[in-house]
Amino acid sequence: MNLLFTNKLVAALLLLSLAGCAGPPLNNPYPRREEGKNILYSFFEQRPKHLDPAQSYSSNEVTFTGQIYEPPFQYHFLKRPYTLIPLTAVEMPTPIYLNAKGERLKETDPAEQVAFSLYEIKIQPGIRYQPHPAFAQDAQGRYRYHALGPKELDQISALGDFKQTGSRELTAEDYVYQIKRLAHPKTQSPIYGFMSDYIVGLKELAAALQQAQQKIEPGAFLDLREYPLSGVEIVDRYTYRIKIAGKYPQFIYWLAMPFFAPIPHEADRFYSQPGLIEKNITLDWYPVGTGPYMLAINNPNRQMVLERNPNFHGERYPSEGEPGDQQAGLLADAGRPLPFIDKVIFSLEKEGVPIWNKFLQGYYDSAGIASDNFDQAVRIGGQGNADLTEEMKEKGIRLVTSVETSTFYLGFNMLDPVVGGASESARKLRQAIGIAVDEEESIAIFRNGRGIAMQSPIPPGIFGYTEGEAGINRYVYDWVNGRPQRKPIEAARRLLAEAGYPNGRDAKTGQPLVLNFDTTGTGPEAKSSFDWMRKQFEKLNIQLVIRNTDYNRFQDKMLKGTGQIFQWGWNADYPDPENFLFLLYGPNVKAGKNGENATNYKNPAFDRLFEKMKNMENTPERKAIIDQMLEIVRHDAPWASGFHPKQFSLFHAWYQKAKPNLMANNTLKYAKIDPALRARLRQAWNKPVWWPVAILLAVLVVGTLPAVATYRRKERGTPPRRSP
């Protein structure tokens, strides 16, 4: 009878299994109503801290703010080198240079004469904000939700609970308002300190706002329109002017970042209500912009959803790009209205395992490749070229790679008495270490080949980078068989001996040379990299001590200039060599000044050239100066070695328009998918499998039968009771 029951159970489960094969996938994490819709699915691994464009600076934040807020300029999606084009502006501005007396200078006049630069920006009329309750007005034209009472607040828990919304036209005043917000004591913009050195009057405005805030009730609204900012002027409804101190041609790049996007004063007033702040309804969490998307669901603990902004002013897909874009199909949609996608759903994923599996199941449209999955996804050929594995190719997945505009390096503290300073001995020691630390090996072991060894601080794709033999660091590499080859270790040993440390020992004292590597790494991978680093120094008989501390202690060391050898990195703010070479500019040192020159390197010749180069256009003269600067840096070797990371991204067959743009942060509007193909493939890839469950249950049932039989036997009989 029991056997009969088991058979029936197995049969039932097999039937269920067959039924499951025909139905929708059971492992689909999304509701059925979304099937076949024009929705892009993505993920975020860290919850964003700020969505206020005055505060947000991290890449995981601009993923959202970049689609919602529109600064006056943007990067062309396809063109390389990276090119700025108008976004809400009518045209690119030409800066006007003034001397200290306010007289206009010629563009060719020396930069030292320029006391101020003026940028006049004209925006397009007719651009409207997304629907938002901050703009809602009653019949009398009064703002409906700017003075919420307790009763109204009781019914509000999210922005979507407001029944009425409104909109209005974007004006120049909104851009000016946001620039003032950079100085607001409550906003705490990370770029305030930096920008206050450039934007005329920003410091004075910050002081005035600080005073004003102390006079008002805590939490009361401060209308920034009432506080003048001398360096920023509204010319007319659609035009504003920014005055910056001196000549800073790179300022235009900042105007393509969300820091300089417009904020309507209505939104600032609306969000300043304490009742809303207590419910986490703030400008920091509910953006209001003019971009192609608006944040429809904001739950940073689970899901962020961008939906098409019905008031979007419209933009067309670019009709020109770089050579090869036409063949790659990237111009097939030229002139078509943007955005292509209706909705973008970002889900919080903290672990790599679910991200990778969901991507393979078709529930994420694109993904990066973690080290654990690299071998499953990519095969590196004999020439170092990356190709997808058969498994990926069968699924129609595409691999897109690009070298990031970032530089990570092994640096020396130039204030250190052993490895630092301008002496011949210290320089040769640094050069020797530069040869010994095999960056190519490190990239192969620890990054699965995803990176290229550094020849100079400037990564590929940035003006000043030189391809081929002319671009190699001759102090570390030789040009052999058409590629750079690291100098033999004997060359490093020779340099070490010339530095006064023959065979890794101090020639005067005979003591072994002991150096310190300051780091913050934890975990098994960090330990392997430390062991690897020790081995690099052992090639020269140098003993390397790993001084591993927590992040705060490491920062303190860097700020005080007490570290010795360390690793550091920089992601480009904008595609200009100035943004990399300033990492070695003397007045920008880290120790004592909190600058970005972490090695505390100072070379007057380099600094003079930097000051000249930073104000120049991208001309052959500028390139020649950059080459001179790179020669100085390679010779002085404040950075031993380094690499530029290579980004590997995977895209499913239904994902179109995948061209990496590492400077732009508003590229979602160009993404395009084929939802029907996705639905078909998801169905094919995710058929449920029931039979192992049936077998498991059958085993459990069969396994309990002897126990049941034993129990029955015991209960029927009257065996003597045992003592436990």
Binding site: N27, S58, S196, Q361, T710, Y711
Partner: protein
């Protein structure tokens, strides 16, 4: 009993002050307000002026525990410790250092944590007790022997293995449930099945061993022999007498954790993308958000104290001989 409860609640006040002080000291030994400001402002282009502004705006520009510049009681009240601690005692957690209201976040995140923790606790309790009873019933037989071996093997395996293995088998190979995610209302069901199942399987080993020991101890007592001598069935003896008398040690382990269920599980929630409270504190420690750390440690202490009080009360319910005085 009322007097006992009031006394216990009053005892809790110095404990909570102590916990709060300890959290404060430990946190600020590792992190200075300058470090916190740098972490929140980002590492690029941040100067001392911006750091000072951040500290002033978030109330970290005062001395930590003692303010020598202040007058009278201000020496203690005009400090970061007093400023950040006093409101906790009325459960006003205030905003996190990134500006979000902690109370709102806790309210939002505790429900997904409970959606996993409550079924895992209730069903786990039923399964573990039943399995332990079964093993106790078949004591000194091959079922008992292999049951204990299996339990020891299961409790020796890391919970991470169960999670990754469960995801691999049920989500990737069999494709029966989503590998991670969460939904509102009933749609959450398909997301919680696997974490709950894994929680149950991971807990069986330890649970079975613990309850088996309790039951075996009870089975050896005189009243069990008397019950059997009366001719009661073994099931009746086990569930009617042994279980009831074994409730005090069971309650000791169970009731105390009930309030803590709100706090969720770090590993389970991270791997399954459950937006619960499990990772809230760890994320806050990583981002040096002292406001969240102190709030969560305080809440954890309060819930633990509540759990202990509830345990004491539950003793009186299951054993009429116990009186709280």
């Amino acid at each position: 009993m009322i007097g006992y409860l009031i006394r216990r609640i009053l005892y809790a006040v110095p404990i909570l002050i102590g916990v709060n002080l300890l959290t404060f000291v430990l946190f600020f030994v590792v992190n200075t307000p300058d470090n916190m400001a740098r972490m929140h402002l980002g590492m690029k282009r941040v100067n001392q002026e911006a750091i000072d502004k951040w500290k002033a705006e978030h109330g970290y520009d005062r001395p930590l525990l003692f303010n020598p510049a202040a007058e009278g009681s201000g020496k203690f009240t005009k400090t970061i410790f007093f400023d950040k601690s006093v409101k906790l005692f009325v459960f006003d957690f205030g905003p996190a250092d990134d500006g979000r209201e902690i109370g709102v976040d806790i309210q939002q995140r505790m429900w997904p944590s409970l959606a996993i923790a409550i079924p895992a606790l209730v069903v786990g309790l039923l399964i573990n007790i039943t399995a332990a009873m079964l093993v106790a019933f078949f004591r000194a037989t091959y079922i008992d022997f292999w049951g204990v071996i299996l339990a020891v093997a299961m409790m020796s395996i890391s919970s991470l293995f169960y999670i990754i293995g469960g995801q691999f088998v049920f989500s990737k190979m069999l494709r029966l449930v989503p590998i991670s995610g969460y939904g509102d209302g009933l749609s959450a069901l398909k997301f919680v099945i696997l974490p709950v199942l894994i929680g149950l399987v991971a807990g069986i080993g330890g649970g079975l061993r613990w309850y088996r020991t309790i039951f075996l101890e009870e089975i050896g007592k005189e009243y069990v022999r008397t019950a059997r001598a009366k001719g009661l069935s073994e099931l009746r003896v086990l569930f009617g007498h042994v279980l009831r008398n074994a409730l005090i040690p069971i309650l000791t382990g169970v009731v105390v954790v009930i309030p803590l269920l709100f706090l969720g599980s770090l590993l389970t929630e991270s791997f399954f993308g459950i937006p619960g409270l499990g990772s809230y504190t760890i994320d806050a420690i990583n981002s040096q958000d002292f406001a969240i750390v102190r709030a969560m440690v305080f809440l954890g202490s309060v819930l633990y104290i509540i759990g202990l009080i509830l345990t004491d009360i539950s003793y009186t319910l299951v054993d009429p001989r116990v009186r709280l005085s």
